[in-house]
Symmetry: C2
Subunit: 323 residues, 2 copies
């Protein structure tokens, strides 16, 4: 962190997004690439991505003639979920009941797609720096016919821990972090937010329910309300850190579903990861390059330093409260 920085500085964020732009395909009433017209929705709105990376009918590759050249069909569906009818808000600027609506929509889409697919990946790319190409508040949902690499790794490690120690890895982990306190950012009746011991992104966090919950649809109404409130607090702290609309990629991981949904997945604990790129300021990011790509992640600040910094930030948004 003491290195002088003469490297790339990100372009300043667009600060004025119009509340409604009839040419933005995510806005109520807009016409999308496939000619469909969006309803005048007033809460969340879910539709099929017009440029899907996964398709339900991807053909099978031919048989392989060599162990080093193995391919499999990747089938699935890609959806987009708008969080709010207005383009000029983000989750931390939305009310707790509005965020609760998003949580309910996450639970429903998980249930719906999980009936057909073993993995339903909900993720939000927030900010142009995170490759987000549309400022309207939204996330994506990609459901797949296979467990993606990271899901497989989480399946393997959680299963191994449960079989060795007789309890879910993330239940014991959350319990330990509550005792140790140094990496905690926020706690509430039903949830914890902490900078994980293994964090590699500067202000990476892990959001965990206190109760053993395997998947989003299992959350009770009280847990959902409390989640909306702790998400608002976390994302407000993030925005306050550098007084900017804080970019990140976030996503939910829960037990696999699909035709094996009824198997024993008790080793799984629902959680969300937040991976934010900013390191030093609103315009200077952490680059995961060189040594990180070729060898191993190296940390520019410790998880304890990051947690301490996030803990001390106000829970009132810099654009809403008096300073």
């Amino acid at each position: 962190m003491k290195r002088p920085w003469q490297g790339q500085v990100e372009p300043p964020l667009l600060t004025t997004v119009p509340r409604h732009d009839p040419h933005n395909p995510l806005c109520p009433g807009a016409t999308r690439a496939n000619g469909e017209v969006n309803p005048y929705y007033d809460g969340t709105f879910v539709f099929d991505n017009d440029f899907p990376a996964l398709q339900p009918d991807a053909p099978n590759p031919g048989p392989s003639d060599h162990p080093l050249f193995q391919a499999e069909a990747a089938r699935g569906v890609c959806k987009v979920m708008c969080f709010h009818p207005w383009s000029d808000v983000t989750l931390p600027l939305m009310s707790v009941p509005e965020i609760r609506t998003v949580i309910d929509a996450w639970a429903s889409v998980t249930e719906e797609l999980g009936a057909r697919y073993p993995w339903v990946q909900i993720f939000e790319n927030k900010g142009a720096m995170m490759g987000c190409s549309n400022p309207h508040p939204h996330c994506q949902v990609w459901a797949s016919s296979f467990l993606p690499d990271i899901a497989q790794r989480e399946e393997r490690t959680q299963r191994a821990y449960q079989s060795q120690r007789g309890e879910p890895l993330l239940m014991e982990y959350g319990h330990q972090e509550l005792l140790r306190k140094e990496r905690l950012v926020l706690t509430s009746e039903h949830w914890l937010v902490l900078v994980p011991f293994w964090a590699v992104w500067p202000y990476q966090t892990l959001l965990l329910p206190r109760r053993h919950v395997r998947r989003l649809p299992e959350l009770t109404p009280a847990e959902r309300d409390d989640l909306a409130s702790i998400m608002k607090k976390l994302l407000t702290k993030y925005d306050n850190l550098f007084e900017t609309s804080f970019p990140y990629s976030m996503g939910w991981h829960g037990a696999p579903m699909g035709s094996d949904a009824g198997a024993n997945w008790d080793h799984w604990q629902l959680h969300a990861h937040y991976y934010p790129p900013l390191l030093r300021s609103a315009t200077i990011r952490k680059f995961m390059v060189g040594y990180e790509m070729l060898a191993q992640a190296q940390r520019d600040l410790t998880p304890e330093q990051a947690a301490e910094r996030l803990r001390t930030l106000p829970e009132v948004h810099y654009r809403l409260g008096q300073k």
Copy 2:
């Protein structure tokens, strides 16, 4: 690749870098952060990084009280290697004999640090987009007391393949790619460049010797000359792709060294990885975000398409030849 792009466009590259800047700590004759003055070097120049991420005397963390909270000391040294006395050149603009000097310096530093450390990671971050904070042509060398994550994975997979199939994985892989041809970019007497079957970055390549070579210092003079020449061709193609100084992170992987250097590492094959971020143009990159961070890499173009595109590009640099 058909998705409309309204997302982040990278700032245009600095096109005029002064040949010599007495305040740039990488230039001949400049004074560095620690007060040392660089010699008036005329080839390559290696010095200790003034802001090292690894240090030889990192203290041991205390003993751990829990299986989920395990830490180990990471010891090592970080060096910087300037490729050329001038700031306004890059490898593809250097002559083949000048690139050969860089290769010799890579071999020497591997030998020197490999005497003390099991892993010597040579890597180049080229371009501001890849977090490079100094335009002077240079790479870094980080030697560590441990095998980094990716080295461990390559060790595991190469060892397993050798024990199951009786030959080095990357020897058989290169052999197969020579037969299949569709992913080849360049071949020479001693080297191959191809877009690997498993590529995730748009124009990712793998550079492999044809002979079974475990580490850089084992390369013969003829292999080094030929490497200089194929590197110049590859990097010229890269620059020609979008008519820009093409950004990338690259690095060398070879058999572990240190006190176990004498063990049997015949399952290893020396190779270099090139990971370039650009996808659509000189200013529109691939973002490894969202689904990639939380689930699995998804490819915007196939390795075969990328190889075809690179293959057809001229071997004369757009800034040097007539168009």
